[in-house]
């Protein structure tokens, strides 16, 4: 920011500040940002990117305001100061990108009318659903198994005790069909 309330860091979460302007705070992957003070590594990275894009939005708004002013002796200086501030924040944004690139972090801004309205961030250690990439996936499938004539499911005595496979009789499962959970 170019005013006296310059934050101590380019990446400080602006939301607790008294001059916070919610209109300029982008969405994160189309959703609200993590809570202020989040400590989980990926959340901290998200907040840093949002902070810098928020700052850029604020400066962009300021620049638009300055450019809309009539030509005055002070306007040119104000315009230059705002452009310098934008450059500083762009450098800071690039620094963030550089710092986290080796971790597989990609932060792609989505802009509208010159303002960043959303930042799509992905991480090297998480998939698109926020799960660690090394986590195993459990895929559940309903597998109908025809029973012999005259036999109902209630007639069967089924005990399966193997990791990843379990019989179930759920509301969604056909009464005559055991279902296997496949991992």
């Amino acid at each position: 920011m170019t005013d006296k309330a310059t934050p101590p860091s380019h990446f400080e979460d602006p939301r607790p500040r008294s001059d916070f302007d919610r209109r300029h705070y982008p969405l994160l992957n189309g959703q609200e940002a993590p809570s202020p003070g989040a400590t989980q590594r990926n959340d901290v990275i998200k907040l840093k990117f949002l902070a810098v894009y928020y700052a850029l939005n604020c400066e962009h708004a300021r620049l638009a305001s300055v450019c809309a002013q009539l030509e005055t002796p002070g306007r040119r200086e104000l315009e230059l100061a705002t452009l310098r501030a934008i450059e500083r924040f762009l450098v800071a944004r690039d620094g963030l990108e550089d710092e986290y690139a080796p971790l597989g972090v990609i932060a792609e801004p989505v802009s509208r009318d010159g303002f960043t309205v959303n930042v799509n961030i992905s991480f090297g250690n998480e998939d698109a659903f926020g799960r660690l990439r090394s986590d195993f996936y459990t895929i559940t499938a309903i597998v109908p198994v025809p029973l012999p004539d005259g036999i109902t499911f209630d007639d069967l005595d089924i005990t399966i005790d193997v990791p990843g496979i379990s019989p179930c009789i759920g509301a969604s499962a056909p009464a005559q069909s055991p279902c296997a959970e496949l991992s």
Binding site: R41, D98, E99, A101, P102, L103, G104, I106, E108, G124, N125, E126, D127, L132, R133, S134, D135
Partner: protein
Amino acid sequence: MRRIILTNYQAPGDVVMLTAALRDLHRCHPGEFLTDVDTDWPELWENNPYLTPLDRNDPNVQVVECRYPLIELANQRPVHFVHGFIEDLNHQLGLSIRPARVAGDIHLSTEEKLGPSPVEAITNAQLPYWIIVAGGKFDCTIKWWHFRRWQVVVDRLRDRIQFVQIGAPEHYHPPLRGVLDLRRRTSHRHLVRLVYHAQGVLCPVTFLMHLAAAVEAKPGEPSPRPCVVVAGGREPATWEAYPGHRFLHTIGMLPCCLTGGCWRSRSVPLGDGDRKDRPERLCLDTVNNLPRCMDMITPEQVVEAIESYRPSPETPPGAEPAPLNFGFGASRDVASVDAVGVR
């Protein structure tokens, strides 16, 4: 006639190398085998003339799990990846296959060759292009070059080469400016066609590098296809580099890759719980979290390597060499350089 099904469930680049083994099996033992394959990447086998549908439940069919343990000796013996599956098949089946080419064996249909390139299908223009991969898989981040360096290369060649960026959605592929962005939009078959129509390829050691060698060159285009590989010191050039490729490596230049590739996995821990975060899998020498071997390769060297695909050496002595004009289909041959060390 022996009936065998070759199986392998590794990455697509590995399966490209298996196509070479299948080709050479039939070339060295013609008429002796009926063969089929079972891999995770069926698109790489489309139009392959060596396939016959076989039933793995048929008692006359032998299922052969294909591996390449030869890789364990890649730092000691002068062998290429193309030898990997071949030596394993020789061992398992008692054969004497020899590689016929240092390249995989991907086949296109006539329709695929004559049809528009995937780029033309999008742009409605016959646009000459190079393909660029600016990232890679998360299990091997040590292969990544910094995305700003890829960007510098694209910027430096902006007026001469149209780059088409590709990459799978589940991998790391940061967006580049000034490219045609086909990230997340290419199936493996699209990619085969994209490579066929491409003038060149720029990438790290990856699936695309193998495809660049395995997909035949379009008539009138240089063969082998120009390909610049930003390789660093993870893998020995003898194992990975293809004839005609510019393989930018640092083997012998750093203590950690003095006599061979380090074969490590990651530059820094990703924190995803993968065993490749363990210290023994991490790069020993990083500069700003980039492996030093990759840091040593500069955008200027990569640009120079691309530009080294000069016009025809048949240019009469003393004649002014034709200006580089990759963007508009300039005819040129390829200097035969197997591996270029970074100096």
